[in-house]
């Protein structure tokens, strides 16, 4: 098996009740790269993202067939969902820090997993906030409520919160769509930094963003992967007409 492959998705179908949201997805997602999912609203990219950390398990009436393996292990059949989520973290579209202090937000993950010693937690919190490029801005107000900072800062705190559990993969579901352009750029820079240590999958509505930061891009349409390949190739020499139409803005 290819050493650079993190996830291997085979014939993945997903049904919400009778509606088929994902159709026969096949792809390999690589380690240490930023993979972007693009496509118009409702095309299934967020749904697919959520299959990777089994967040769809929380929704009633969802049925999944096919398989996803991480490092060769089937994440549905041979892994516990809780365990999976400590290795695959997620950042959501709306910044949603918990209604507690910045410190407690970032320490939430480690505390859940049994880390109680203050010195250890202090170190984890500092390291995660530094990795999320927000340590300098909040180091003097760690005990303040996380809801009292700006949207862009809140999102970076959420990223720090995810980093605190030391995952291997970070899933980002339209992480900048609710933020201003400057915060957006900060987070894009952050993602580019982070790919040195993590595999990142980002769902985005913003094609330019995908073009700016991702190494590989998958174009989704009505639950199917229309085209998947190196970002360079998708944007400059798309093989599928529909891809080209989307990229050039003819629809979407």
């Amino acid at each position: 098996m290819n050493d650079t492959v993190k996830f291997s998705v085979k014939d993945l179908d997903l049904y919400y009740g009778n509606f088929q949201a994902l159709k026969k997805i096949n792809m390999e997602i690589h380690k240490g790269k930023i993979t972007a999912f693009i496509g118009p609203s409702g095309c299934g990219k967020s749904t697919f993202l959520k299959t990777i950390n089994r967040m769809n398990d929380l929704i009633e009436g969802v049925k999944i067939t096919g398989s996803i393996t991480m490092d060769g292990v089937d994440i549905y059949k041979d892994m516990d969902a809780i365990q999976l989520r400590t290795r695959v973290g997620m950042v959501f579209q709306q910044p949603n820090p918990f209604p507690m202090s910045i410190y407690d937000n970032v320490a939430y993950g480690p505390r859940i997993h049994g880390i109680k010693k203050k010195s250890v937690l202090d170190e984890i919190v500092e390291r995660s906030l530094k990795q999320a490029a927000i340590w300098e801005e909040v180091k003097d107000k760690l005990k303040k409520s996380a809801l009292a900072v700006s949207g862009g800062q809140q999102q970076r705190i959420c990223i720090a919160r995810t980093l605190a559990i030391e995952p291997e993969v970070i899933l980002m579901d339209e992480p900048t769509s609710a933020l201003d352009p400057i915060s957006t750029l900060k987070i894009e820079d952050l993602a580019t930094e982070l790919k040195q240590h993590y595999s990142i999958i980002i769902v985005t509505h913003n094609m330019q963003q995908a073009g700016r930061i991702s190494d590989k891009t998958a174009f989704f349409l009505t639950g199917e992967v229309v085209e998947y390949g190196d970002t360079e190739q998708i944007f400059n020499k798309p093989r599928n007409k529909k891809t080209e139409d989307y990229i050039t803005g003819r629809f979407g």
């Binding site: 950390n53 967040m55 929380l58 009633e60 809780i82 365990q83 989520r85 400590t86 973290g89 997620m90 959501f92 709306q94 949603n96 918990f98 209604p99 939430y108 993950g109 505390r111 859940i112 997993h113 409520s145 809801l147 009292a148 959420c158 919160r161 995810t162 559990i165």
Partner: protein, 384 residues
């Protein structure tokens, strides 16, 4: 277009508006009359003594060692006992007690300390009945007496609601301790675990109906099952259990409302970090729902305080402070059940009204408390 019916419209508008205003005035007036009447009848009887005295009056014989006291010009003062007497309603009572008065060390017939208090009525000195004597006469009689130890027959007046106040508090605590955890856990199950479907709808339907059952039916149930079947007799435990069942629907729905307020994304983020459902509930959901749960508890207290039918048949109407949970010594009247007893057994509407005044004040205080808590936590949420 013809616009000629302006006068007609103006007139009918006016009449309807008048009716609306009248209805509101009527409602407010009725409320004012009710409260006004209760206050009028009841306030004269509400004072400090009313709140702290026992319900039943108590007659005791006590022995007091006289002291060598300083005489005074006051004919009502008894130097050897250090007390000042006074007349009221054909009875002679103790108006003032010196700080070093020997009556503070009076002993009853079992040689136990029975400290005499102000307002105690003296009805017998040694072998002499003092009925019909004035305070001056009793004081003189006591002063003339030359024995070292004197025996008095003393009546401690009752008519106070001390036992009912304490019993009410006991029942509140007991009921909340039982209904609280069960109600909150049920709400958590319904909101966080239960799957939508026929079973869930059945459960909700059952809860809704439970909320609508008249309280006297709960009283009947409580009497059959707790008092008789479980042999608890009239007891605060029987009362508390019955009230708990009554309160459950309220606590469950209020808690559920509070749980629903918590944004779904908090749960998602928590799961996304690898937390289990219970961890999420314990760390994020319950703390966030706490204000709502608190308000539910306070409203629950309001209902407990106001409940009568269910308690009459499970906790009884005896004015005593319960010293056990079940059995004869556990029966206890609350403010409401004593009111019922007063009206039914004695027709003493003034005393009943006085209790009613205390109840009204309690209920208003509880409502204010719940509003304050709601506002306090809304403000906290706002600054976030």
């Amino acid at each position: 277009m013809e616009k000629s019916n302006w006068n007609k419209r103006k007139w009918s508008d006016g009449v309807l508006k008048g009716l609306i205003y009248l209805s509101t005035a009527l409602t407010v007036a009725i409320l004012a009359i009710i409260i006004g009447f209760i206050l009028y009848k009841g306030i004269p009887g509400v004072n400090f003594n009313f709140l702290v005295r026992d319900w039943d009056s108590r007659t005791t014989f006590v022995n007091i060692n006289k002291q060598a006291g300083e005489a005074s010009t006051n004919p009502k003062y008894v130097a050897s006992l250090g007390i000042t007497l006074e007349d009221k309603d054909n009875a002679v009572y103790i108006k003032e007690i010196d700080s070093n008065s020997p009556v503070r060390n009076a002993l009853n017939m079992k040689e136990q300390l029975y400290e005499l208090k102000e307002s105690d009525i003296i009805t017998k000195v040694d072998k002499e009945n003092t009925d019909g004597m004035t305070a001056d006469e009793v004081a003189a009689f006591l002063t003339e007496n030359s024995d070292a130890v004197i025996r008095l027959k003393v009546i401690r007046p009752g008519g106070g609601i001390k036992q009912m106040l304490i019993s009410t508090i006991y029942i509140i605590i007991l009921t909340l301790v039982i209904a609280g955890p069960i109600g909150i856990s049920s709400a958590i199950y319904l909101n966080e675990y239960a799957r939508p479907g026929r079973v869930l709808r059945l459960i909700r339907f059952a809860i809704q109906n439970l909320a609508g059952i008249p309280s006297i039916i709960y009283g009947l149930f409580g009497m059959l099952v707790f008092v008789q079947l479980a042999k608890m007799q009239y007891s605060i435990l029987a009362g508390a259990l019955t009230l708990s069942i009554m309160l459950l629907p309220t606590i469950i729905s209020a808690t559920e409302e509070a749980l629903k307020e918590i944004p779904k994304v908090y749960r998602e983020s928590s799961f996304g970090l690898g937390a289990t459902k219970l961890q999420t509930i314990r760390r994020i959901i319950l703390p966030g729902a706490l204000p709502g749960i608190l308000v539910a508890m306070i409203l629950g207290i309001g209902r407990i305080v106001g409940e009568s039918a269910a308690l009459i048949w499970t906790a009884g109407t005896v004015a005593q402070i319960p010293i056990s949970l079940v059995g004869g010594e556990a029966a206890a009247a609350t403010l409401t059940t004593k009111m019922y007893w007063l009206i039914k057994e004695t027709g003493d509407l003034s005393a009943a009204s006085s209790i009613a005044v205390v109840l009204l004040i309690l209920i208003i205080a509880l409502n204010v408390a719940s509003k304050l808590i709601t506002r306090l936590f809304l403000r906290k949420k706002g600054t976030n």
